[in-house]
Symmetry: C2
């Protein structure tokens, strides 16, 4: 699975791309867009002055400012890379600077709520193409980003009905150039799919790590020492950005609670099988789940190295 | 975190080590023990003729046989590396071959049940030192093993009260030489600690992967495509050996059900916080769990690379 970007484009796709929020995702887009020559100029906008200063030090954008309305001026693509809970407020703040014909997009992990929050603030003649790159790491901030983050990952677009097709195609081309595979679906379906593939796994990981920390019979030192038995893998996603994830759960409430309800039904069956010694039921499930892992590996969403390749270099 | 074994010992710790069951763990012990010169001879015993043939091809043992009683003859260390559900039966089968003074150990992920199953079959003068190396990958079989599997991992010994101290020290030396850190605790405490750090995480991973496969609103193809959002990490441990894990749950029933009950209480609180929009409660938990991740990394049980280093080589 090569993780390299292709050669840069001969001519940029956009004149001026404004990125609002320079965390892991925003700063990765900045790096990838520059590397691939996707914009003649990249403007970094962040409400946090320290982030703006750091972006200047890193040199990953052509301009950097805390002023949203000024920053988006003349941009033909504006991407909101902020927690989904503040999308509406940010859209309102940058509205005065948006030029007619501009495309506004985002990278939020929830889509129906973002559409509801952002759309009312966009003037006539501005195109809204919501996007969600399904990629990330457990690290946050402008230093955590890297240009290959989106390579071989999916990016889901959820344009509301009636969105200008040319605008959708330009956003698609932008993500394709950064190495992503683009899929289009409704915001509602997106929120359901991501609830099970991303949101609920995060909630469960947060939960088990929290529960383990509270036990009175097992010390936290023991939990840490013996984490290699499986717990450790859960802690990676439970180390993800707290603000981002709080907003995801609050803004995809129905789908998350629905999926959680289903998991609870199924775990009750497993608990019953354990209590009554029904080994066959356990064995059948455990065999079935192995096949799904193989599907993920063969689809290129995972490497086949054992233990995530933690010991790859010197497997003896 | 170096993952290299040290130089081999000048003189072997044991004359003859018999390994019963040459899966991931047994075959890793064979490789590490030979690499470190821990035994003058290593005997591989497996009930499956194909495994015995494969062990011969791999050349990871000095002798290989399907005959348990003959294989353990003259061994001064016998290690059961079989699913915990068959420990008693295997101990019964090899009993006629055990020589006085021999040490019997195991590698089971559950300890109280193994003690209860194995001890009645051991003749007077044979020492029983149960062990659990907290290490593994999602792969199985003699080809999956490697000599550094136990390096920098914990191995827990749970000698029953009154066990010969010399025997305990020899088993400790064996694991220390393979790079493990050894800890001693009661079988009961072990089973509680591992329930939360290993058994319940596996059960939850199996459960979510199974539930996702059964959804009628989201296709399995979508689950696989968009797994990079978090789900993917769960599938690794849900790809572990079905027989081994079935036995773990059936033989650590009380602790697993107890820990599962606690998780359910805590997830109910989280679900309620989501339903009522209590963002602060979510944020507080998510902040706390980040700290635990840092503890695991600083204790050397994990590498700090983002996303398990999946893109380590060409992070740009």
């Amino acid at each position: 699975m090569p993780e390299r970007l292709g050669p840069p484009l001969d001519a940029p796709l956009f004149e001026r791309v404004a990125l609002v929020g320079l965390g892991l995702i925003g700063s990765s887009i900045a790096r990838a867009a520059r590397h691939m020559n996707l914009a003649r100029a990249i403007v970094a906008i962040d409400a946090d002055e320290r982030v703006v200063a750091r972006v200047r030090e890193l040199g990953i954008a052509d301009e950097a400012t805390t002023d949203a309305a000024a920053g988006v001026k003349d941009a033909d693509l504006v991407i909101l890379c902020v927690p989904v809970g503040v999308c509406g407020r940010v859209a309102e703040a940058l509205r005065p600077g948006l030029k007619p014909g501009c495309i506004v997009s985002d990278v939020g992990s929830v889509k129906a709520s973002v559409v509801a929050q952002v759309q009312p603030h966009l003037p006539e003649g501005v195109h809204f193409v919501p996007a969600h790159p399904v990629a990330g790491t457990e690290h946050s901030g402008p230093d955590a980003g890297f240009s290959t983050l989106f390579h071989n990952r999916w990016c889901i677009l959820t344009p509301p009905e009636g969105t200008d097709e040319g605008a959708v195609e330009r956003v698609r081309a932008f993500w394709t150039a950064m190495g992503s595979n683009v899929e289009i679906m409704t915001a509602q379906h997106h929120d359901l799919v991501l609830a099970i593939t991303s949101h609920v796994p995060h909630l469960i990981a947060y939960n088990i790590v929290g529960t383990a920390a509270d036990l009175e019979t097992v010390t936290q030192g023991e939990v840490i020492k013996f984490s290699a038995g499986g717990f450790r893998d859960f802690t990676r996603i439970a180390a993800s950005d707290p603000t981002m994830w709080r907003d995801v759960f609050l803004h995809n409430r129905e789908a998350v609670l629905e999926m959680l309800g289903r998991l609870n039904e199924d775990i009750a069956l497993l608990a019953r099988a354990i209590r009554w010694g029904e080994g066959d039921k356990l064995f059948d499930l455990f065999t079935r789940t192995r096949a799904i892992r193989r599907g993920i590996i063969s689809s290129g969403q995972e490497t086949p190295e054992p233990d995530f390749g933690r010991r790859r270099e010197d497997k003896a």
